[in-house]
């Protein structure tokens, strides 16, 4: 196909921004804050820059493949996805929309990161995403994915995931 005018096609950035995190499918990579940059030229070539949440996050490969297939489907001829590490991702990069989507799916969103260099911040309490109680306790600092810890609500007795502040 030939590239006509940019207005006939959704811009690459908008398409890339709709790709979901495979392990947190209620959050887009834009809302997660890992979509760093999208550039396109008039030849239909796209260059996407993303950053991993954790060094070993296995979702990043799937995200790369999803970006390539989604953008190619939209007519872009050549899609490059670049991984960058600096500046390091922080849970503060989550958007407000991302936080709301997490909470709605039963995952307590992270609080603000206190200090990158200090000890692991003491989280006084995390609000239960199901019943809003603050009477909760951490049952494990590590959860179902690298970015989450496990909590239990004492009020409604439900266990839930908490997106860690890092």
């Amino acid at each position: 196909m030939t590239w006509t005018t940019p207005t006939t096609m959704p811009r690459a950035r908008e398409i890339a921004a709709t790709v979901l995190d495979p392990e947190l499918p209620m959050v887009t990579i834009e809302d997660l804050g890992i979509l760093r940059d999208v550039t396109e030229d008039d030849q239909g070539r796209v260059h996407v820059t993303i950053t991993p949440t954790y060094s070993g996050c296995p979702a990043i490969e799937t995200i790369r493949e999803d970006l390539v297939s989604r953008l190619e489907l939209a007519g872009y001829q050549r899609v490059d996805v670049e991984f960058v590490l600096s500046p390091a991702w922080s849970s503060d990069d989550l958007t407000e929309q991302g936080r709301q989507n997490l909470a709605r799916a039963g995952i307590a969103p992270p609080g603000p990161v206190q200090s990158a260099d200090g000890p692991v911040p003491l989280t006084l309490s995390v609000r239960c995403p199901r019943c809003d109680s603050l009477d909760t306790r951490e049952s494990s600092r590590f959860g179902s994915t690298a970015c989450k810890s496990l909590w239990v609500c004492r009020a409604c007795r439900e266990p839930f995931d908490h997106f860690k502040a890092i």
Binding site: P52, S55, L85, S86, V120, S140, R141, F142, A146, L150
Partner: protein, 262 residues
Amino acid sequence: MNTPLNTPLNTPLNTALNTALFGYTLALADDALVSAQRMGWWISRAPELEEDVALANIGLDQLGQARHLLTYAGELEGDGRSEDDLAYLRDDREFRNVQLVERPMTDFGVAMARLLVLATYQLHLYRALAVSDGAPLSGVAAKAVKEVTYHVDHASRWVLRLGDGTEQSHARMQAALDAEWPFVHELFTPCHPSLAGLVPDPAALRESVLADVRRVVTEATLVVPEVSPALGGGRRGLHTEHLGYLLAEMQHLHRSNPGAIW
């Protein structure tokens, strides 16, 4: 992976420096990679389900760090070796990890004692690497600092709980520390002199790392063992027999099926 780098690669002037930096990077990478493999042993064997998950996550963090470091090492070397080539196609004598991480880790006390020492060391090293913006490895290190902070915290909690627990848990935690301690000193092997000022020298971290570990050990009512250091030599490619078995398991699939990918 893109890592900020201000050292020109593959220019004749910098060949010696690149070789030294390659060795330095490989040491960090192999510590993380071999430790990750040992952590994986614990999946389904930890004392409780949450601990299975925790140790798997810690191993995954270490594996991720190793992947970034190996990729970078391959770029420094300039021979086109990928992270997989370096992880799967080197023999034990080419590995640069400390002997601390390669020995079997089938006792939970040993796993926590070792993680406390290793993660504290990594935290200090990565922190020092991360602060120099644009320096080699600063990007990988800044990311890893956040992760190993959690590892130190996790190991510290267990050492406190077991050390200051029952008579039996105290005795076993002390025995674990005694077993690991001869291998602690190798972590502080000086790096190549040509790297002075470019990257932190592990030898310079000895006091601050050991002070942090000692604080946890003492609070856990345990004592820092007074034992002679093991012979060491991992940084020069000299390893215990255990590394060969570990690599056989880790590399088997890739070597039997060259080029296999998930």
